[in-house]
Amino acid sequence: MAEFVRVDSSTSGHTMDKSITLPPDEIFRNLENAKRFAIDIGGSLTKLAYYSTVQHKVAKVRSFDHTTKEATGDNLYEISMQEEVTARLHFIKFENAYIETCLDFVKDHLVNTETKVIKATGGGAHKFKELIERKLGLKVDKEDEMTCLIKGCNFVLRNIPHEAFVYAKHADSEFRFQTTQPDIFPYLLVNIGSGVSIVKVESEDKFERIGGSSIGGGTFWGLGALLTKTKRFDELLQLASKGQHTSVDMLVKDIYGGSYGSLGLTGDLIASSFGKSATADKGETWEGPKFSKEDMAKSLLHMISNDIGQLACLYAKLHNLSRVYFGGFFIRGHPVTMHTITYSINFFTKGEVQALFLRHEGYLGAIGAFLKGAEEDNPNQYSWGENYAGSSGLMSVSPEMYPMQRARSGTFSFDMLEMDRLEGKLVNLPLLQDASSYIPDTVDLTEDAHAREYWLYCFEEALDGVVQRAVASQPDMPEAAERAEKFRQKYRHKLQTLRHQPFAYGSLTVRSLLDTREHCLNEFNFPDPYSKIKQRENDMALKYYQKAVKCLDELSWEERQYALVRGVLAGNVFDWGAKAVSDVLESDPEFGFEQAKRQLEERPWLVDSYDQWFERLKGPPHKCAMFFVDNSGVDIILGVMPFVRELLSRGTEVVLASNSGPALNDVTNGELQILTESIAAMDPVVQAGLREDRLTLVQSGSSSPCLDLSRLDKVLAMVVRERKTDLVIIEGMGRAIHTNYYAMLSCESLKMAVIKNSWLADRLGGKLFSVVFKYEVPATSQHSAALTPS
């Protein structure tokens, strides 16, 4: 054989490595309850998927039966830790070299599964079929690769916010995440594996491979190996990122001496890929340039990326599609190829089409194969959420951290994605003015470096307090301290990761930082560290309810309206989630409602549309108000409930929307039900409201201190429609400032919050305890609800 093709010499990248010990706490979690396996084996990476149930503790509240003397002390309700089983999808990605080790591990840890088959897809499924069947004792059931890919793609686009992103190498933040579209179809998926497949996806089950190309990742790899004698894909990419293609390619200026002006082709455009290497060795007098490996790899990368980009554009144009997603091993988190593909798309469409990439692109096949196997469970009837505690996040862009290099250092490297099944299906708030452009978060910390620095610092600072409270919430459990320590490490590690890779889980926001913390707390069985605090505060506040209502009733109508608003705002000062406040609360438990009122900023407030609100109140009552509530204790009982009571008295129906699960000291739907009943027992207005179904409670579908109006419980959305909701009230810093501050609704809205963070207050031009009272009426409709027909 000729010398020029003898490329590989020493090591092979695919030798089985059994010396690796897998970290059991971190990988293949919850295997003991695993059922439904799926596997996607690609050219170099294996993706294993399984469905499992996670048992974790949840804090449940239960009302005491006050007729018997069951109750101890003055508590209104009891808190019990219960084991709850939730569904979780696990996806693990590792190099094919470890497939045997991993299968052994799975076999050893699999306890009582009734599973008999494993769904398999990917080019390697056939090659490893025998091994899988032997090791796992499961029958390999092959699924079509493209079907799996599309199913997986639909699933992530629908369920993971910030799944898709635009890559901009030279921008402040390289990743610009896209908001989830209410309708994900139609789109074009360009899968760049060894070859290229171009698929048009029109609906969940309707897709068509409309084209393809033989020039793909395999061409880069194969030709690259021949040209540079470098055999690994990642190494080739690294070579390419260091090379200069201009020494190999014939540019327009090599032919024209400059640009080809009349066609608008600039001199730097490639006229002929590898065009210079043709003339290099010719003529005795002309000594051609020596081509470096780097330069050839770079030229090859450009050639292939440009070609794929061009074809993708031609297909997008022909089929009139503007959303084009790129995936496949050629792309898979490699900034180099994402950049060249993006460049190509921009060039060929003059910016009309954007190249979109997916955070979990590597998992699509495995997700799809899993979904094929789980069709009888109808997984698409649920919404799923990415678990930030269990998922690895997007790989680093720095070349030093390429998976290849970590693998080389001898440690087993893997990547994980975990998704929790949420109760029911999450949908848009029907009252969003434009669901497709709605962005919940007010500040994108991925782009705002200054804000990012502050919040990461802030969450790091608050960590000790969170750990202490977590331990304190479980006084009867001696190992709580140990678990809390693990929580601390996990969350601190997440914060550190986010400091270096703010884009790891999509756009970094205060909401995502809060949610990540909740996920980590849950992970270590601290489902509700504030349960006791909430209980104490609720009990305390209830005692003042009647007195507070009586005081309000004594005021004139005008005075009362103002006092009610001040009450909501003062109540909102009570917030364990805000550091400035939790310090005061902890040092001075007697900090009372009246003190809070005194603490409030005097009018005019930082954002003050009280006069407009007051004018509105003189008009006809609203048909129905949807109130997204915030904290337990004083906030809900002495602030919100009197306000609600007034609305009811005016003849407005009220729907109280509270969290499905615990987050900080936010009142949960379970707690609120007990509290409302308890208040009803003291207050005929509230009682009548409940009895006549003019006061209802719904859960938001969320367990976050923030609020994403595009992911709400289906029942809530139904209630909004049925009751013809014409007023939305959002309360608190998390829901009305960190999120939804700019949310545009199609009905009247009221956003109320007290800024309990001096940095944020400063940012907004206010000071600590500044008030935001934002009453908005959509431009199109006054008074009447503008429900968009569904």
Partner: protein, 421 residues
């Protein structure tokens, strides 16, 4: 586009029971060029201007008027591409004794040098088989010669021009291609020649339309492959480019340009790709150590691409991966140079086919003419393109080829010299 009394021809043609398509196509052709007046086929095909049908006096009249604007010899058209320089030279065969006496020595010497050789220096070549004989151009009859040499030998060419005192002839050298811009200063400094620079796409289209109109003797300029999907029955057939518009013109030189042509003066560049002839040769040189296009093609014809490409289903389904097998070390070691050359050729060609097909669909054009020097002596690529167009369009799309493959730009440049637009 200028006229030169040709409109009158149209009238006479109409009176002469000529098929109705003729006037239209005549209008589009530069009037002062015509092929052998004795050729019946051309006239009946309506491709060419027919002097035969014009009355003697009209021809005489025109000849006189043309003479005044006729540029002095020598007549050259030049296209300086990224890889090759293409040169067309008109050799007048109707030189009178009187003229011969007047003719300066170095003009004679140039004519003799070009017409008596078929190779120039180490790399210059005259494509004798493409020569167009007895061609009438601006009232002169002669032969059109087609010459090419590598662009990197342009300095030697300029040196020759200097040695032969080319500049003393005070001729205008019409040149197109990027090199006309890049080397303009070199022409001036090294050979004291002033270039008249022309847009390459304008020249290309003009050249294609002209050559197609004048070639009628022997095999027709345009041809296609019958039964492209059946290798055993695939044969080359002449094609008559009647009503050529709209037309997709794919020029495969070092790189590729794709033009949608609606009339001689109405066209647009739809797109282009950098994966062209230069890529084929460049990659072949790196992969096999070859150094010429002919060598690379020779190897490709002996190779087997499927040992290099990764076949997933079958090659006709298009679902294969170029060089995919080369990801594997074992397969890299067992592959031959010939296989690599073949795979490179197939990959580049199919990619051009694929992009062309998409452009044809987007532009709603059903006829594609492939030109450019990548197709020279490259039947393999032509058949692949013919196959791809036919297969993917289910017979809707026709791939057409022209015998003078890479010379149209140079011809267009010559036409500009004789007949400024």
């Amino acid at each position: 586009m200028a006229f030169n009394g040709h409109q009158r021809d149209d009238e006479s043609i109409n009176e002469d029971e000529t098929p109705t398509e003729q006037p239209q196509s005549n209008k589009e052709m530069p009037g002062c060029f015509s092929n052998d007046p004795n050729n019946e086929a051309a006239a009946s095909a309506g491709r060419a201007t027919s002097d035969r049908r014009t009355s003697y006096s009209t021809a005489r009249q025109r000849s006189d008027s043309v003479k005044k604007t006729r540029p002095p010899f020598p007549w050259f058209g030049m296209d300086i591409g990224g890889t090759l320089v293409k040169l067309v030279y008109f050799e007048p065969k109707d030189i009178t004794a009187e003229e011969e006496q007047e003719e300066v020595e170095n003009l004679k010497s140039i004519r003799r040098y070009l017409t008596s050789n078929t190779a120039y220096g180490k790399t210059g070549i005259r494509d004798v088989h493409l020569e167009l004989q007895d061609l009438t151009l601006c009232g002169r009859t002669g032969n059109l010669h087609f010459i090419r040499f590598p662009t990197h030998d342009l300095p030697a060419f300029l040196q020759m021009g200097r040695n032969k005192h080319f500049s003393s002839l005070h001729t205008t050298l019409c040149a197109t291609g990027g090199g006309a811009y890049k080397f303009e200063a070199d022409f001036r400094m090294m050979a004291d020649l002033q270039l008249h620079k022309l847009d390459e796409l304008d020249c290309l289209i003009r050249g294609v339309l002209y050559i197609d109109s004048v070639v009628s003797s022997g095999p027709s300029e345009c041809y296609y492959f019958e039964n492209p999907t059946d290798p055993d029955r695939c044969i080359q057939r002449p094609y008559t480019l009647e009503n050529p518009y709209p037309l997709l013109l794919v020029n495969i030189g070092s790189g590729v340009s794709i033009l949608a042509v609606y009339s001689e003066n109405n066209y647009k560049r739809v797109t282009g790709t950098s994966l062209g002839g230069g890529t084929f040769l460049g990659l072949c040189c790196l992969l096999t150590g070859c150094s010429t296009f002919e060598e690379a093609l020779e190897m490709a014809s002996e190779g087997e691409s499927t040992r290099v490409d990764k076949l997933v289903r079958d090659i006709y389904g298009g679902d294969y991966e170029s060089f995919g097998n080369m990801m594997s070390k074992d397969k890299r070691e067992s592959v031959s140079k010939e296989d690599l050359a073949r795979a490179t050729l197939v990959t580049i060609t199919n990619n051009i086919g694929s992009i062309t097909r998409m452009c044809a669909l987007n532009e709603n054009i059903e006829r594609v003419v492939f030109v450019g020097n990548f197709l020279r002596v490259n039947t393999l690529s032509m058949k692949l393109l013919a196959y791809a167009m036919d297969y993917w369009s289910k017979g809707q799309l026709k791939a057409l080829f022209l015998h003078h493959e890479g010379y149209f730009g140079a011809v267009g440049a010559l036409l500009e010299l004789l007949h400024p637009s």
